[in-house]
């Protein structure tokens, strides 16, 4: 009975989403930084080249023969085309009086007389322009002359460069994001890896495997695995206790039952009234039933214990089956059942002889019990390397058409055998023994449709 588990989200998905959004955020940041850096760089280089232009004009001006000569060098403007094909404007003022250039070019908005160049962004002819203004003082006839030069450029080239760099940044960002996304998915996958491995290791275990989990796990999972191991330990103790309890109870019940049965037998001999005899016989039958159940409970407890600590020794299965068949011949004869055993070559297997004998006895007991009077039970031993298969055929009711699979469960009984004494533990014991030895138990009806066929297989050693 497993409770329906409700999953609240997935660690992997959450991790992937988180990593992806981190990557997206970083990508945006990267693009933004590259863009603003590029803008700064583009502005800087335009400012530098404008400054160089202004400086070259200022340097080329001089006082010659009492006259201010402003001789714009060819390079002053031609150098501006190295960076971009932007439009060029300039004006030259002498003592704040327009001398040459574009007289409608705006003066820099903040005019400081500090002598340091002024970098400004202005609007001229409806275009944004970048302008550098610098001045130089000369002496003309003992009067100071201030020569001011402004050189300006439109910013198309800068916008174009910026656009290209932005596109590149976008492209890089996209690539960066794609790589991050792949890595994010990969790391999310690998993070949940140990969890998956633990889950599959635990679910791969057999039903009786209650060993503690010893797989190597990451530190974060150690508390979980510790709790799991403690839980397994408690479960194991509790199981052992209940099985001990059952075995003890069965043992304690069986001995007094034997006494009660003996007394009932004695009393049966003494009483003569038919109705008293009938009820005593009924009593004995019930006592037999109980003692048989107690015996099988004990068997089962023993099987459980021994399969947990399986002793391996070389067994001749053929001989072992022969012994058991001989022992139960008497019981079979009580019902006039013809019990045959087709013994083949010796079949050596390795295992616990007591367990295997127990399983064989239980299966043979079942076959005899469910057989009608005066019928036949045959036991066959067949070697099919690497297996040895032992099968029991009877002529009884067989297994019900539906639900034969569940019969190896504890206390499960066929729907068609309600009138026959039985505990429902026989098949369980045989099944557990077969599994403990790496073998298998198969139940089916005979091919001719009459009676059941139970076969138990063990690996040959």
């Amino acid at each position: 009975m497993s409770a329906e588990l409700k999953a609240t989200g997935s660690i992997r998905r959450r991790l992937s989403l988180q990593l992806l959004s981190n990557a997206a955020l970083l990508t945006l940041l990267l693009v933004f930084i590259v863009r603003s850096f590029a803008q700064q760089l583009a502005e800087q280089s335009q400012d530098n080249i404008l400054m160089a232009s202004v400086t070259s004009i200022l340097d080329a001006s001089a006082i010659q023969q009492g006259e201010l000569i402003v001789d714009i060098p060819y390079s002053a403007f031609s150098m501006l085309s190295n960076l971009s094909d932007d439009r060029v404007f300039y004006r030259i003022d002498k003592n704040s009086v327009f001398l040459t250039g574009y007289d409608d070019l705006p003066n820099p908005t903040s005019v400081k007389n500090t002598g340091s160049p002024i970098f400004s962004t202005e609007t001229y002819q409806d275009r944004e322009i970048r302008m550098v203004t610098a001045s130089r003082r000369l002496a003309l006839e003992n009067q100071p002359v201030e020569l001011r030069v402004s050189v300006a450029q439109t910013r198309n080239g800068q916008d174009q460069t910026l656009g290209e760099i932005s596109r590149m940044a976008m492209l890089f960002g996209g690539g960066f994001f794609a790589i991050s996304a792949v890595l994010a998915l990969f790391s999310a996958q690998s993070t949940v890896g140990p969890l998956r491995r633990l889950a599959s290791a635990v679910s791969r275990r057999g039903p009786r495997d209650l060993r503690p989990v010893t797989d190597r796990v990451p530190a974060e999972m150690v508390p979980l695995v510790k709790s799991l191991n403690q839980f397994i330990e408690r479960l194991k103790i509790s199981l052992t206790r209940s099985e001990d309890f059952i075995a003890e109870a069965a043992h304690r019940v069986r001995t007094p039952l034997a006494t009660v049965r003996a007394q009932a037998e004695i009393t049966l001999r003494r009483v003569e009234k038919d109705e008293n005899r009938a009820s005593l016989k009924e009593m004995i039958r019930a006592i037999d039933d109980s003692s048989r159940a107690a015996g099988q409970l004990l068997d089962h407890a023993m099987v459980t214990f021994r399969t947990d600590h399986l002793e391996q020794s070389q067994i001749d299965l053929a001989a072992l089956v022969g012994e058991t068949v001989d022992r139960l011949k008497a019981v079979a004869e009580l019902k006039d059942i013809d019990l045959t055993y087709n013994e083949n070559d010796p079949a050596k297997i390795s295992g616990d002889a007591i367990l295997i004998q127990n399983a064989v006895r239980n299966l043979l007991d079942n076959a005899i019990k469910y057989s009608p009077m005066d019928s036949r039970v045959s036991v066959e031993l067949v070697r099919q390397t690497p297996w040895v298969i032992l099968s029991f055929h009877d002529q009884g009711l067989g297994f019900p058409q539906t639900g034969a699979a569940g019969l190896t469960k504890r206390f499960a009984r066929g729907s068609n055998v309600a009138g026959i004494v039985g505990s429902g533990l026989g098949l369980t014991i045989a099944d557990e023994v077969a599994r403990a030895h790496g073998g298998d138990l198969k139940i089916a009806n005979n091919a001719d449709g009459v009676g059941a066929c139970v076969s138990i297989s063990f690996p040959l050693s």
Partner: protein, 347 residues
Amino acid sequence: MRLNIVSLVLAAATVCVAPLAHSFEIEHRQNFASKAAQPVTLRILSTADIDLFAPLILSFQAENPKVAVTYHAVSSTELMRALQDEQAPYDIAVSSAMDLQTKLANDGFALAHRSNETNLLPEWGKWRDHVFAFTQEPAAIVLSAKAFANLPVPQTRQDLISVLRDHPDLFRGRVGTYDVRSSGLGYLFATQDARTSETFWRLAEVMGHLDIQLYCCSGAMIDDVSSGKIAVAYNVLGSYAMARRDAKANIHIITPQDFTTVMLRTALIPTTAQRPALAGQFIDHLIRAAWLDETTDSYPFPDINRDPLASNTSLRPIRMGPGLLVYLDKLKKRQFLNEWENAILQP
């Protein structure tokens, strides 16, 4: 039918009224009519001689029969005045004065044009998608064959200086060049020469001593050399000289080996253009004629050399760009002209 007639009359009326009052001087006008019922008119303002330029217009009309072309030939300074000061409504401005064309584009008097054809141009063949080059025309020295019959034909400016110095009597009053004060192209050639080499000033001094004749245009100089009136014409458009088949026998065309300034004739679309799209088509036509490898008969200029420096190290194509604005500066121009007058105009 009636409507058509009315609209025709109206169209005629607008055409008649359209010629504007203007003060710039048009040297020559020519209309290239279209046979189409309702032609669209492309107005070209150009410094190129109409006879030279006509094949390009005719081939354009062959491809676009609906287009009529009005061609006004002006000097480069007048072209500048027309567009800058008077905002005359022309669709195309073609000029040999690269500096003035550059200034028009720089000062916002030109429209941008981008097409598959403009992508064909090398980086140095256009500026800002506004100014497009469609010729390469060297500034040549044209000599009278008769005058140099018994003299070594000079191949460099230095040679020319020597010849002029050695035979002052032969050349007095028989040396000609542009009057750079009135000719935009002459000014461009002179400033580029001055920028390239000091030899220019020495040559100017020598020519100044020989009572130099000053001309407005290349055509007149070639005429005078051909007729023998003058013996040497300095800084003549080589393309015009080569196109003059009648004068071939009488002249030597020298592209100086020390350096030859190469002018790129350029076209642009003024902001005043009435039909900028059609103007764009015409510029594409010029570019195709000039830059595509197959030479067409309708291209009247020397073939374009895509890599001028690689084939001939003496060729100096004038670089388009803001550098050309420098010599247009008021002060700079005054200084240059002063210097030029001091050298050339000697009493």
